[in-house]
């Protein structure tokens, strides 16, 4: 078995060439992404079940979410998806400095998302619109309003956790870009982090109308 690309230091011994390795890494990433989809599916199911059981409650309770802040966060996340996609493109066309700038922009946007989320959460904590047994708010008509907030905090909390993981991953590829480890020939880790970040965006695209925009 010949090692075709001896000069290419990124190819591990069990791959025959860089292309096979890159394809494998991307396939692995996609499979990981579907595990993420299935992870969230449990919470979406809980949402569907409880919304079907308490339609009035869900309509009444969602009015206490701030549509303005939700829309703002949607815009922030979509923009961050654009910046990371452009950042990876910059690596593809060998513009390292531009890539660094775009990755930093993505990080800033991600942090902005969390800040907005923090204000939303603290406002709800203040009012006692909390999940399960900590729910003390009294202004919502309908059966079991605490269930809406359980679902809300679980969905946005898990999503927020993924934002945090995503920020760590983006920081990692940012450092590797600064260290000049990527080139138009090899940038698989950046590509995979990009995929992950888009998935986080994709989940929010569904969370936003389901939680903030119930008719």
């Amino acid at each position: 078995m010949e090692h075709v690309l001896k000069q290419d230091t990124h190819v591990a011994h069990h791959f025959s060439d860089a292309e096979q390795q890159r394809d494998s890494a991307k396939l692995g990433m996609w499979i990981f992404l579907i595990t993420e989809v299935l992870l969230f599916s449990g919470l979406f199911t809980a949402y569907a079940v409880y919304r079907a059981w308490h339609p009035e409650t869900f309509i009444n309770a969602h009015k206490f979410l701030n549509v303005g802040l939700g829309t703002l966060n949607t815009v922030v996340l979509i923009t961050s998806s654009v910046t990371i996609a452009l950042g990876i493109r910059s690596i593809q066309v060998n513009r390292r400095k531009q890539a660094i700038g775009l990755f930093i922009a993505t990080l800033v946007l991600a942090a902005a998302f969390l800040v907005v989320k923090y204000f939303e959460y603290s406002h709800k904590t203040h009012l006692g619109q909390l999940p399960g047994k900590y729910y003390t708010f009294t202004g919502i008509e309908g059966t079991d309003p605490q269930v809406f907030f359980s679902v809300y905090f679980l969905l946005t909390g898990l999503h927020g956790l993924h934002i945090v993981f995503g920020m760590a991953a983006i920081t990692w590829i940012l450092i590797r870009t600064i260290n000049n480890e990527f080139s138009p020939e090899y940038f698989t880790p950046a590509e995979n982090v990009g995929l992950y970040w888009h998935l986080v965006d994709l989940i929010w695209i569904f969370l936003f109308p389901l939680l903030y925009l119930i008719g």
């Binding site: 069990h14 499979i31 599916s41 449990g42 199911t45 059966t143 679980l154």
Partner: protein
């Protein structure tokens, strides 16, 4: 094919030192790390089962208190399921032979593979911690609302199972990518050994189902720690929803357990029948069929839980579908043996045990899938017996068939065949004594998980317990001769069984990178109709003249 290389270094010898094992990226060594750790838990879980059975010899207390009994059967279940049978075949045998079978040097992501072992160890530490911090008495299913209320150490145990899920997902990702991307030249999808197909189907289930277990257990932990209320009726939650979530994973999970076992059976049965497998494509597709159907039937665990009538009927109907792909496999295996030259070495003995026991396990599964019957048999020993016929009679027998089949490849040494046959026979007898009795107990109305029982059940309970002691003896004999073989067994050549799959074309034990040169695949994995193995080398019956003559010679010799 490759020349015999007598002086090649084996993966067992090089590199040396404990560190080289703990940080190894070699799939074979990781398989062995998994083997030792999983065997420890198999031993612990087995001992717990023996204590439970001893306690059940009589209705009154013999060894342990009622509380300890509840914890013991829960831990027996949780340990056997999460720490032994789910990772068992994929992580030990799959890790070891899958890359060899497709002619790869390693799995696609060796670091992820090693990480999966460490994650397994971390998860198991949580399980052990829960053992010593109050244990768990919920049953391995952790049903709410009891699991959110009991003061036992449910949080640690479920956290352990949550972490173990990652280990399972890592293995699944690795296998799918390896099979897609790392097949040797010439190894087309339909030249892959059926064990690889089965592992592929298993990996698909691992990847699709395990995350749902993750979120379920996470919600359970949140329920206990933060009172989030999703499953708590007092807070507007629904405990039956927990069961839906749990079984959406755990029903496909029983196919994570059985599918790779079925793959092993497909391998062993054709090798020891010296006959091309019957219905290769049907078996390959039926693995994927089982994987698909496995996701549609979970509600049959919940017929008496309070789910709606409509849902129960739908799930009952869908459950019957499982019989189709499983039946396809059974018929094809039997047809493979038909007119083959069958030899009864120990791997084949386990395979035959499997066919017999799995048929019973499968049929009783269909019975339990029938809504009207299940309402009566639910939570009786009938279910316990069915489950053990499928999981122990099915998966464990297949696992043992695989262990005996690949043991000489793994260590380069052969075990004592005579002892192996004795323990296979003892296991078969002991197993049927233990669990067939439980079918009867179940139909007579003995509920599962009870510490004590009416006197009328005593003879059957005692008989079942005696059977379990025979099982225990069989496993001790097996442990002895298998470990003895590692150090003192007779050395074997490349291909002691005369099999045609790729792992038998390299040395036993294989060199660190599996093959001296990347194999190029031209033959099918089971072409026994035109190839035979003579002294480790392939002889083509339809090849040049010499081949035909050698074939005739060997044939006539074997007839003597």
């Amino acid at each position: 094919m490759t020349q015999a290389i007598s002086d090649s270094v084996s993966y067992l010898d090089e590199p040396k030192g404990i560190k080289s094992w703990l940080f190894t990226l070699d799939h074979k060594r990781i398989g062995i790390l998994y083997m030792w750790s999983i065997m420890v838990f198999f031993f612990i879980g087995g001992m717990m089962a023996l204590i439970v059975r001893t306690e059940l010899l009589a209705p009154e207390q013999i060894l342990v208190s009622a509380d300890a009994y509840n914890q013991l059967f829960t831990l027996h279940g949780a340990i056997m399921i999460f720490l032994f049978i789910i990772p068992g075949i994929p992580a030990i045998l799959g890790n070891y032979v899958l890359p060899l079978m497709i002619g790869a040097k390693d799995v696609a992501f060796p670091r992820l593979n090693l990480a999966s072992w460490y994650v397994y160890i971390i998860g198991s530490l949580f399980a052990i911690y829960s053992l010593f911090s109050g244990a768990v008495d919920t049953g391995w299913t952790f049903y709410t609302p009891y699991s959110t209320q009991t003061s036992t150490s449910v949080t640690a145990m479920t956290l352990g199972a949550f972490i173990l899920g990652f280990s399972s997902i890592f293995t699944g990702i690795n296998f799918i990518v390896t099979i897609h991307k790392l097949r040797a030249p010439g190894m087309t999808w339909f030249k892959m050994p059926l064990f690889v197909w089965a592992s592929y189907a298993t990996a698909v289930i691992q990847v699709l189902a395990t995350p749902v277990l993750g979120i379920t257990l996470l919600l359970l932990i949140f329920e206990r720690v933060f009172g989030i209320g999703i499953f708590d009726p007092a807070l507007g939650g629904d405990p039956v929803l927990y069961q839906h979530f749990f079984w959406f994973y755990s029903h496909p999970a029983v196919y994570i357990m059985i599918l790779p076992g079925m793959g092993i059976i497909s391998e062993v049965i054709t090798v020891f029948s010296r006959k091309k497998i019957f219905g290769y494509t049907a078996i390959a597709y039926s693995s994927l069929g089982i994987a698909l159907v496995s996701f549609l039937v979970w509600g049959h665990h919940m017929f008496t839980s309070g789910q709606s009538e409509l849902a129960a009927m739908i799930f009952s109907f869908l459950t019957f579908l499982v019989g189709i792909p499983s039946g396809i496999k059974m018929f094809n295996w039997v047809a493979t043996m038909y007119k083959g030259s069958i030899s009864f070495e120990s791997p084949m003995l386990y395979t035959l045990s499997f066919l017999f026991l799995f048929a019973i396990g499968g049929f009783t599964g269909i019975m339990l899938g029938a809504l009207s019957l299940d309402v009566h048999l639910h939570d009786t020993y009938f279910v316990v017996a069915h489950f053990h016929y499928v999981m122990m009679g099915g998966t464990v027998m297949a696992f043992l068939a695989g262990v005996h089949y690949w043991w000489p490849k793994i260590w380069g040494r052969m075990y004592n065949e005579k002892l192996a046959r004795i323990s296979a026979a003892l296991l078969f007898i002991g197993f049927n004594m233990t669990f067939f009795t439980q079918f009867i107990l179940g139909t007579k109305g003995m509920p599962r998980r009870y510490y004590s029982y009416l006197d009328q059940y005593q003879p059957l309970h005692a008989f079942s317990s005696y059977g379990s002691f025979i099982i225990g003896i069989a496993f001790f004999i097996m442990g002895y001769y298998l470990i003895h073989a590692i150090f003192k067994g007779q050395r074997v050549g490349k291909n002691p069984w005369g099999a045609l799959t790729l792992e038998w074309t390299t040395t036993s034990p294989p060199p660190p990178h599996n093959f001296e040169q990347t194999p190029v695949v031209t033959d099918g994995p089971y072409d026994y109709d035109r190839i035979m193995i003579v002294g480790d080398e392939r002889v083509y019956k339809d090849g040049p003249e010499e081949g035909k003559e050698i074939a005739k010679e060997v044939d006539s010799e074997s007839k003597k």
